[in-house]
C-alpha cells in the first residue's frame, strides 16, 4: 500500500480534524469580531474602562498565542477552573483575536475624519447609534484588507490548539503520521487543506471589496 493510500484510508480522522478546524475558526472569528467591536465601543466611551482595555489589548499583542492557550487550559485548571480543551481553545481564540480586531478598528478610528460624526450629533443621534450606524460601517469599509489578513492569522493560530490536545486538523495529521510513520504525505495533505481554506477566505475578502468600491472607499 502506498503512503498516499494510507492517508486516504485515514481520511475520516483528517476530515474530522478539518471539520473541527473549520468550526473553531468560524465560531472564534465571529466571537472575536463581536468582541473587537464591543471593545472599540467601550474605548470610544473613554474613562477608566477604556484605559484598562488599552492595557488588555497591549498585553494580548505582546503575548504569543500559544502562551495564552496554555494559560487558559493548564493555568486556569491549576486554579480550579477546568475547561475542556475545545472550550479553552475557543476562548483563547476569541480573546486573542478580539484584541487584534479591536486594535485594527482603533487604528482606523484614529484617522476617521470627525465630520461625519459631528453631522450625526447635530442631527440628534445618540452616542450608541452614532457608533453603530456611522462609525462602525465606515471603519469596516476602511479596514477590509487588514481584517482579511487577521482572518488568515486566526486560521493558522487554530493549529496551535493541537498542543493543548484539541483534535483539529494539525493534530489529526500528526496522529496519522505518527501511527503510520508517513509524515510527508500526511502534512502535505494538511498543507493543501489549509491552503484551500485560505484561498476561500481571500476570495471572500476580495469579494467584500465591492461594498467599498461602490461607496468610493477603494479605488483599485
Amino acid at each position: 500500500m502506498s503512503e498516499w493510500s494510507i492517508v486516504w484510508e485515514a481520511r475520516s480522522t483528517i476530515l474530522s480534524g478539518l471539520w473541527l478546524t473549520c468550526w473553531l475558526f468560524t465560531a472564534s472569528i465571529l466571537g472575536a469580531f463581536m468582541l473587537g467591536c464591543l471593545m472599540l465601543y467601550l474605548l470610544e466611551r473613554g474613562g477608566a474602562l477604556a484605559w484598562l482595555l488599552r492595557g488588555f489589548i497591549n498585553t494580548m499583542r505582546a503575548l504569543p498565542f500559544l502562551v495564552l492557550a496554555y494559560l487558559l487550559y493548564y493555568g486556569l485548571s491549576q486554579l480550579g477552573l477546568r475547561m475542556n480543551a475545545v472550550t479553552a481553545g475557543l476562548l483563547a481564540m476569541i480573546i486573542y483575536h478580539g484584541a487584534y480586531f479591536a486594535e485594527i478598528l482603533r487604528g482606523s478610528r484614529l484617522v476617521l475624519p470627525p465630520g461625519s460624526i459631528e453631522a450625526a450629533q447635530a442631527h440628534g443621534f445618540m452616542p450608541g447609534s452614532i457608533f453603530l450606524h456611522i462609525i462602525l460601517p465606515q471603519l469596516l469599509l476602511r479596514t477590509r484588507p487588514l481584517i482579511g489578513n487577521q482572518l488568515i492569522y486566526a486560521l493558522k493560530d487554530t493549529s496551535f490548539l493541537a498542543i493543548i490536545t484539541v483534535q483539529e486538523l494539525t493534530a489529526a495529521a500528526n496522529a496519522v503520521q505518527a501511527t503510520y510513520f508517513i509524515p510527508m504525505p500526511a502534512f502535505v495533505v494538511v498543507i493543501l487543506l489549509y491552503w484551500a481554506i485560505t484561498a476561500c477566505l481571500e476570495l471572500a475578502v476580495s469579494k467584500a471589496g465591492i461594498f467599498g468600491k461602490a461607496r468610493g472607499f477603494e479605488n483599485v
Binding site: S116, A119, A122, F125, H133, G216
Partner: protein
C-alpha cells in the same frame, strides 16, 4: 409657544486653552428670520454657530432653541443627559462647509436615516420624505447613488435636504459655499434663497455679500469674538456704525 424666538443666545463666552474666542454674545433669531453672520477668518463665527447646537460647549452663557435651553435641564437644574441633548439637537439642522455626508450610505439613505433612527419614523415614510426633499433641492435623480460620485454643489444640496428631513426649528449654515467651485456656488445659494422664501429660520455664516444683502433680515458682524454690528442689511451695507465694518466692506469689492 409660537412667538418665542427660534434661537436666543445670552451672554455666551467661549475660550480655547485660555484664548477667548467668543465674548458676551447676545443674539436673538426670530421665527422665519434669516440672520447672516459676517466677519474675517478666525473671528469666531463657526464657534458661535457650533455653540448653538452644543457641538462646542460654551464656558458661560445660555442658548435657547424655541424656548428650550440646550445643554442644561432647567427643570431639573442639572446638565442635560445624552438623550436630552440629542433630542434638543434634533430641533436644529446644520449644514457644514465640508458637507460631512455619510459616505457609506446612498444619497437617499443620508436623508432618511435621521428621521428613522432619531425620530423613529417608519422606513417607508422616511424614504418618501427623502424622495420629496431630494426633488426639492433638484436631486431627485441622484437618490440611489453614493455621495462620492457627486459634485460639491450636489453634496451640499444633499446635506441641506438631510437637515430639512428633521423639520428643524432653525437651519444653521457654516460657510456652505466656501468649499465649492465658483460655478457651483449659485445652485446652493438658490436652494437657500428658496428656503428663506418658504419661511425657514436660518443662521448663515457666509462670505457671500450679495446673499447677505438680498436674503437676510439681520446682518451680524463678528470681530475677535465680539458682535460689533447688528443691523438690517439696508443699514449694514450702506451706513454701518463701526469703522471696522466699513473697512471690511471696502475690501470686499
Amino acid at each position: 409657544m409660537s412667538d418665542l424666538p427660534a434661537v436666543e443666545i445670552r451672554k455666551l463666552s467661549k475660550s480655547f486653552s485660555g484664548v477667548e474666542v467668543l465674548r458676551d454674545i447676545d443674539l436673538t433669531v426670530n421665527k422665519g428670520e434669516v440672520v447672516s453672520v459676517l466677519g474675517s477668518s478666525g473671528s469666531g463665527k463657526s464657534t458661535m454657530l457650533r455653540c448653538i447646537n452644543w457641538l462646542e460647549e460654551p464656558d458661560s452663557g445660555s442658548v435657547f432653541i424655541a424656548g428650550q435651553r440646550i445643554g442644561y435641564n432647567s427643570d431639573k437644574q442639572r446638565p442635560m443627559t445624552n438623550r436630552e441633548m440629542a433630542a434638543t439637537r434634533a430641533r436644529t439642522g446644520m449644514v457644514f462647509q465640508s458637507f460631512n455626508l455619510w459616505p457609506h450610505l446612498t444619497v437617499s439613505q443620508n436623508v432618511a436615516i435621521s428621521p428613522i433612527k432619531v425620530k423613529g419614523m417608519p422606513k417607508a415614510q422616511a424614504r418618501d420624505l427623502a424622495t420629496q426633499l431630494l426633488e426639492k433641492v433638484g436631486l431627485g435623480d441622484k437618490a440611489e447613488v453614493y455621495p462620492f460620485t457627486l459634485s460639491g454643489g450636489q453634496k451640499q444640496r444633499v446635506a441641506i435636504a438631510r437637515a430639512l428631513a428633521m423639520s428643524p426649528e432653525v437651519m444653521l449654515f457654516d460657510e456652505p459655499t466656501s468649499a465649492l467651485d465658483p460655478e457651483r456656488v449659485g445652485e446652493v445659494l438658490q436652494v437657500m434663497r428658496d428656503l428663506s422664501g418658504e419661511g425657514y429660520t436660518m443662521v448663515v455664516v457666509t462670505h457671500e455679500m450679495e446673499f447677505a444683502r438680498m436674503v437676510s433680515d439681520q446682518v451680524v458682524f463678528l470681530d475677535k469674538g465680539l458682535i460689533i454690528e447688528k443691523a438690517p442689511p439696508e443699514i449694514f451695507f450702506t451706513n454701518p456704525a463701526s469703522e471696522r465694518v466699513r473697512r471690511f466692506l471696502d475690501r470686499q469689492d
